[in-house]
Symmetry: C2
Subunit: 226 residues, 2 copies
């Protein structure tokens, strides 16, 4: 951007979204069957091109892709990284801005033919560099779950502390100390008890909580992890 005569080459820019959810205590990714070439009929990450007329930025493009192609709204969305190069798309040099999205399982769209929800431990072959994008998303979600409130976006509106701890454990793949976990949640101060609400079984019911309004969009961070 500093030389007078610089060729501006046409580069294809797309947005790809790794949409993750927690089903039966396992992280799952949402895949769509590609309708068009290249790789028509193949399971792939939801994605699409930028619509300059409607999208305020690539995050808006990603939200639009989730809405129009997956059929969901309100997922937590964060930019992951940008993947690029001449070989990732057979059509030529391309750039994909990848986003990571989290959604509670109960907010998934109704079942249909061109959509599947697969455990990340049993993914099919994916086209383009979608496998690398998905792996990057998993690494990001797992590492960020070590010190932030990220996993709460896999929960519904309200949840109990034992439920939340289980979600953390499922994402991280390791058990957590109950006392330490609750101490941290208390220190970080991003949860509030839902007044009277409880929940039962054949045992003591657990207090219901929700995220404080200030932390609905922003993540809560813990200085020393957990």
């Amino acid at each position: 951007m500093n030389q007078t005569t610089e060729r501006r080459e046409a580069v294809q820019v797309s947005v790809d979204v790794v949409l993750l959810t927690l089903v039966e205590q396992q992280l799952h990714a949402v895949l769509l069957r590609r309708a068009a070439a290249p790789f028509a009929g193949v399971w792939a990450l939801p994605g699409g091109f930028i619509h300059t007329a409607e999208d305020a930025d690539t995050k808006a493009s990603a939200a639009r892709v989730l809405q129009t192609k997956v059929g969901i709204e309100g997922a937590y969305l964060e930019q992951l990284a940008t993947f690029s190069g001449p070989a990732r798309d057979p059509r030529g040099w391309s750039v994909a801005v990848a986003y990571c999205a989290l959604l509670p399982a109960q907010s998934l769209p109704p079942q249909r033919d061109d959509l599947c929800v697969v455990p990340v431990s049993a993914l099919p072959q994916l086209p383009f560099d979608h496998r690398a994008i998905l792996d990057a998303a998993l690494a990001r979600v797992r590492s960020k779950s070590l010190y932030s409130s990220l996993p709460v976006h896999l929960c519904g509106e309200t949840f109990t502390l034992p439920q939340l701890q289980l979600v953390y454990e499922n994402v991280l793949g390791e058990p957590l100390n109950k006392v330490s976990f609750r101490r941290k949640m208390d220190e970080m101060d991003w949860l509030e008890a839902v007044p009277g609400a409880l929940q039962g079984g054949a045992h003591r019911p657990a207090q219901l909580y929700r995220v404080k309004p200030a932390f609905r969009q922003e993540l809560a961070l813990s200085p020393r992890g957990l």
Copy 2:
């Protein structure tokens, strides 16, 4: 990428680099005076368009920008984030893949008219959204310095532990405990003493160290910070 007929719109893709270095115990950014419109004559981040014929990916584009426009090679480079939208560039909807680069001060290019090295605490007005990009780079460098070997890329080939600690302190903007710092460096095990080499003044000389080969490209991470 799942519908048969999707318009592929022309989007301008550029690469911008936040090149940081440490001068007189302060973080400085390298800026270039723009030769061409828009914002001709204005100080801005080094940047440029992608050259599909030569660049293997946007990281290679960033490295090429550093080499051809700034005149340096071998800087530590990592992708920061991608900035996008209709308003950031007056020419229209654009995408900028931003990179963060670190360089020891002694590797800076010779002085010249269209290049300046300014303290990040006293930046001029910057065009486009370069200020936001720079702020994001600073935030990233500072937060990553809390738990990784990142700041070592502001040092030369060899350095003493007191020098390294000072670099960390300058980046983080706060003093560190000497014993803890050295304990961590020892635990993380990414440094090796340069055999006989020492360094003097009118006092006890300090042992020289360098980064172990395995960590020259990869960062060393500490599980619990510092």
